[in-house]
């Protein structure tokens, strides 16, 4: 083992209490950043679930649509114009919107209705645990998620309720289709979705376009835009990006999460800087001795930076374990915390930068060491 490393290691473990304080500081800071960034990623993923699960090559939407939940409407007759374009195989209307759900007990709760043409299956419920998709084409049939049973006052297939004073009946049950707005999703046929949300016939929220295998997506898109007025055509990836941007930055949610992360970094830096500084101060005669026996300043910096890196490694390992537990605990909630490999690497680099940055105060301190002090006992 290189001696600088041994020296750093021993300096660090020499004072257990300070080491614990350092590690707690790093862990607190990194866990805070992890949660904020994990929420950011989780939120970014949640706001695009519907886009992720729709089967479409292109989305036609009213010009200026900001996100999937946007209430603006387009004309369904454009559907026929789109179908005329070569390469287009299907154009499926989708209607979304808020509605009031009245339980059999008479209690009301808002729901978010998602209606799609069930013959083509543009945006159908997924993760079915009870019932079948086909059952949704029957009158009154809706699909709801198991996690919202209590909220909706239902207990499974066969339960009934009312939306806009029209009777509905649970015909299929999904698992884990959670909404970050906490408003339960209700899947059903597109025509009944219009009735329940008050969207006039001849209108829809989106038209999902499916293309033949050999179709040129760019060309089709160009043709749709030039043939149909007041619409935008986005690929799923572009629509995801737009939705994410709106929810994360249009609403300030992203800024709040970043501010939280920044706070974590500041707290961590202050704690680590403080403990490294006091550790260095305690070992000042040793550093002066090193200097007296002729070590370069670089050699001494190496000892301090190794101390910082070791603290970073210990702190990061513990923070990663805690982060992993948080991910598992929140996996089934409406807003799961998501840690991607890239985030993990980023967090590790952040920990290292934070710890090494924190050693600057300690380093400034040792640059002022006068080696001659070693003679004064």
């Amino acid at each position: 083992m290189p001696l600088v490393f041994t020296l750093a290691f021993r300096n660090l473990f020499h004072d257990r209490l300070r080491l614990i304080a350092t590690v707690i500081g790093i862990v607190f800071s990194i866990v805070l950043v992890t949660v904020q960034m994990g929420l950011y990623l989780g939120f970014g993923r949640m706001v695009t679930t519907m886009i992720d699960h729709a089967s479409a090559d292109l989305w036609i939407m009213p010009r200026g649509t900001k996100c999937f939940e946007d209430p603006s409407l387009l004309n369904t007759r454009e559907r026929y114009r789109a179908l005329l374009i070569s390469g287009v195989t299907e154009v499926i209307p989708v209607v979304i919107g808020f509605a009031d759900w009245r339980m059999s007990s008479g209690e009301m709760t808002p729901v978010f209705v998602i209606g799609s043409d069930l013959r083509y299956g543009g945006l159908e419920p997924w993760n079915l645990v009870e019932g079948r998709i086909e059952a949704l084409s029957r009158p009154k049939a809706v699909a709801v998620d198991r996690t919202y049973f209590d909220r909706l006052g239902v207990s499974g297939i066969g339960s009934t309720a009312e939306i806009r004073e029209q009777p509905v009946r649970v015909a299929a049950v999904t698992n884990g289709i959670r909404s970050f707005t906490t408003t339960p999703f209700v899947f059903l046929d597109v025509n009944r979705a219009r009735t329940y949300t008050g969207v006039p016939s001849g209108k829809a929220s989106y038209l999902l376009v499916r293309l033949s295998q050999d179709a040129d997506r760019g060309r089709v898109r160009q043709e749709i835009v030039s043939n149909i007025a007041d619409v935008e055509v986005l690929t799923p990836a572009e629509f995801r990006e737009r939705s994410r941007k709106f929810w994360l930055f249009g609403t300030g949610a992203g800024a709040a999460l970043f501010a939280g992360a920044l706070l974590g970094v500041i707290v961590g830096t202050v704690v680590v800087a403080q403990t490294l500084y006091s550790s260095t101060k305690e070992h000042l005669t040793e550093f002066a001795t090193l200097r007296a026996i002729g070590s370069s300043k670089r050699y001494i910096y190496k000892v301090i930076v190794w101390q910082a890196l070791l603290s970073a490694a210990i702190g990061f390992s513990i923070a990663a374990l805690i982060g992993n537990a948080i991910v598992r605990l929140t996996a089934a909630t409406a807003l799961p915390i998501v840690i991607t490999p890239a985030l993990l690497v980023g967090l590790f680099l952040l920990t290292v930068v934070m710890c090494v940055g924190s050693s600057i105060a300690a380093i400034v301190q040792v640059t002022r060491i006068d080696p001659a002090t070693v003679f004064a006992r």
Partner: protein, 237 residues
């Protein structure tokens, strides 16, 4: 006969500033030759430590010149001085200044590590240096497991392991009892005599006189006299 390894000419040093300014050295000329053990003696506050610090390139003189192994120190920055120290000087301190968290071997190895010596070779050399000071059996011990005399021997091993031509020691025996002090002095005398190093020892202790080739007296920042040490007298050898 031989060229001096260390040469100080008209060295003056002011310490402190303003009203607290003290002229610690007032024109000292001294040279050290290889193979000689020199004692520097004088009353407390006479400037012994200050002179040692200047000779060892830890402090720069306010006036005068210092040449170490032919290199003048004038104009050298802190890093240049550190380089001169690690190449030419080994230090032994009154209070040992060992690293409490490192074993004896690693304490000695530190002097090689700061020179960038690869660790394998450095470990072997460190054990050899410890054997030279009679601590072959304590290489793994930590400072707290060693007696004062043993700790000072580790410090001497650290000072000599890099084979510097100059060894400077500030009251190396002051913290030790008579017997341990004599053992340390024997080792230092051997280093001077057998290996041709220049050894300068600051001390108050007249019991060290028999080991010296040369005794230099300092008082109030000035060299006041010089005489041959006990080692030059045949009957004491």
């Amino acid at each position: 006969m031989t060229e001096p390894l260390l040469e100080a000419v008209d060295v003056a040093k002011d310490l402190g500033s303003g009203a607290a300014k003290v002229a610690a050295l007032k024109g000292v000329t001294l040279s050290l030759k290889g193979g000689e053990l020199t004692l520097l003696m004088g009353p407390s506050g006479s400037g012994k430590t200050t002179l040692l610090s200047i000779l060892g390139c830890m402090l720069r003189p306010t006036e005068g010149t210092v040449r170490i192994c032919g290199h003048p120190t004038a104009g050298a920055g802190p890093e240049d001085l550190a380089l001169l120290r690690r190449e030419h000087v080994g230090f032994v301190f009154q209070s040992f200044h060992l690293f409490p968290t490192l074993s004896a071997t690693d304490n000695v190895r530190l002097a090689l590590d700061v020179r960038g010596q690869p660790s394998r070779a450095a470990r072997v050399m460190s054990r050899e240096a410890l054997a030279k000071v009679g601590l072959a059996h304590k290489t793994k011990a930590y400072p707290r497991e060693l007696s004062g005399g043993e700790q000072q021997r580790v410090a001497i091993a650290r000072a000599i392991v890099g084979n510097p031509s100059i060894i400077l020691a500030d009251e190396p025996t002051a913290a030790l009892d008579g017997e341990n002090g004599r053992a340390i002095m024997k080792i230092l005398a051997e280093i001077a005599g057998e290996q041709g190093h220049a050894v300068l020892i600051v001390t108050h202790d007249p019991r060290l006189l028999p080991f010296a080739d040369r005794v230099v007296h300092i008082e109030d920042g000035r060299i006041t006299g010089e005489e041959p040490g006990g080692a030059k007298l045949p009957r004491l050898q």
